[in-house]
């Protein structure tokens, strides 16, 4: 899920797009001032290098070399490690592609529905639970309670977590690699 914690100033996107023209003009003006000492190419290169140093490369990496979508990775893992027809409980909040329904016996329920989670836990069949790793800022008490129930169940253990890149989401507005899927086997 892509949570937005800080709203981007997208209503001024056109103005933001124009700003690099001023950057180019600024580089040009600085290069002109320093012409007596350095060539234009050297000054331009130096300014670009300094500018790049102030960028958050870690964040940019997510646009050019993105971490694979964790739900796709989780689906592939299930196909390899969980046999056809197995019982799967999927948290609705994950919005996992319904294509998995054809291969497994799937029950979808909200992670907030503690009673339904409890009922699935009481089921005698071995079951895999696909639940999101909760984001503390958005987790409701009911969500926390459901996950505590899963963790406290004697036969349950987390078998695999698909972690995304943990972006400092408070600063950046798009949480790309969420949701992080946790597979719990009962």
């Amino acid at each position: 899920m892509c949570f937005m914690r800080e709203h981007p100033p997208r209503n001024v996107l056109a103005a933001i797009c124009i700003f690099p023209i001023f950057v180019a003009a600024g580089v040009d003006a600085i290069a002109e001032k320093l012409r007596f000492r350095f060539s234009n190419l050297v000054t331009t290169f130096a300014i670009v290098l300094v500018g790049v140093c102030f960028l958050n490369i870690h964040f940019l990496k997510n646009f050019y070399w993105p971490h694979p979508e964790t739900r796709l990775v989780a689906k592939k893992w299930l196909e390899v490690n969980v046999g056809q027809g197995a019982s799967l409980v999927i948290a609705e909040e994950l919005k996992i592609d319904r294509a998995v329904d054809a291969r497994y016996s799937v029950r979808r329920m909200s992670i907030e529905n503690t009673a339904a989670i409890q009922e699935a836990l009481n089921d005698s069949k071995p079951t895999y639970f696909l639940v999101p790793k909760l984001d503390e800022a958005f987790a409701t008490p009911a969500m926390r309670r459901s996950l505590e129930l899963l963790a406290a169940h004697p036969g349950a253990k987390a078998v695999r977590s698909f972690f995304g890149v943990n972006l400092p989401a408070r600063r950046y507005y798009v949480h790309f690699t969420s949701p992080t899927v946790v597979v719990i086997k009962k």
């Binding site: 056109a14 797009c17 690099p20 102030f54 798009v174």
Partner: protein, 301 residues
């Protein structure tokens, strides 16, 4: 040589954006896509052409619908696939998980192309402003590291990138043909781009100011006539691209009212009106380019 290098740079950006979009499918990367793709699917795969949403104008929704239609041909493997109303349900009901990824990819490719076109306008404008070939590469290069631009040009189908493309395209046209004092270059073409800008994002009506300036400051003849034609062409373009605002005017006015209320109140998510709001935008600018490039930009300004 220069043109070829710029073309190659843009082509690489476009190809990489398409790869990025495809990699996340069938999942949506942004909640706000619910305002564009489901209404676009409604237009593309049901008999009605009414998007039923006026918080945003209809032009980007129609563009997304055209993209979805192309994507559905790609998915079906032919230009005239048998009518499949389930495609609409798959996009509308199952959002934010698209069970027709190839169909959705059609819309994403189209919007990525619009983002790349915006980059081209910036390259052309930078060269025009500084007269240096290096600026033609530097400006789009700097734009390509701005997260706000990257989010809007490759992560999701949104109205903002269409508005930015049309409004910057309009400025590009005005600057490149500043000496052509004809009705075509002063009123008709800028009028069409003005109309498309407003039909993408209501507040981009501000593009009208540079259009009128180009007539009143740089053109000696028929100023009033050219201004009126500009406004008439703009209004006609808006009418063609947001046709349902006449039929469903109560919803349209409600949408406009919502936007006006939102902006008047300082757009709740941006903080209170006044100085905090201004600081939010300054922070957004620095966040977009980093302190280094932001300072150099201020020097260039």
């Amino acid at each position: 040589m220069e043109v070829g290098a710029l073309g190659l740079l843009l082509l690489l950006f476009f190809a990489d954006s398409c790869r990025f979009s495809w990699a996340a499918l069938p999942y949506s990367l942004n909640w706000d896509e619910r305002y564009t793709l489901p209404p676009a699917a409604h237009v593309a795969f049901t008999p009605t052409l009414e998007p039923g949403l006026y918080t945003y104008p209809s032009f980007p929704i129609y563009l997304a619908a055209a993209g979805l239609k192309m994507g559905s041909w790609f998915e079906a493997g032919s230009v005239s696939p048998p009518p499949d109303t389930r495609v609409y349900e798959k996009i509308y009901d199952w959002y934010p998980t698209f069970t027709s990824p190839k169909t959705v990819f059609g819309a994403k490719v189209l919007f990525t192309l619009i983002g790349t076109l915006t980059m081209l306008w910036i390259a052309l404008l930078a060269k025009r402003f500084t007269g240096k070939t290096s600026s033609q590469f530097l400006a789009p290069g700097v734009l390509a590291v701005a997260p706000l631009f990257l989010v809007h040009s490759r992560a999701y189908v949104n109205v903002d990138i269409v508005g930015a493309c049309c409004s910057i395209g309009c400025l590009c046209l005005l600057l490149f043909y500043e000496r052509r004092n004809t009705f075509l270059f002063r009123s008709i073409l800028p009028g069409i781009l003005l109309g498309l800008s407003i039909a993408s994002k209501y507040q981009l009506g501000l593009v009208m100011i540079p259009c009128l300036f180009s007539i009143w400051l740089y053109d000696g003849r028929d100023r009033m006539k050219k201004s009126l034609i500009l406004l008439a062409v703009g209004a006609a373009t808006f009418l063609v691209t947001v046709p349902y605002f006449i039929i469903n005017n109560s919803q349209f006015l409600r949408g406009i009212g919502y936007c006006a209320f939102n902006y008047y109140n300082g757009f709740a998510l941006h903080g209170p009106r006044g100085l905090p709001q201004l600081l939010h935008y300054i922070k957004g600018l620095i966040g977009a380019f980093g302190v280094g490039f932001a300072l150099v930009g201020v020097v260039g300004d």
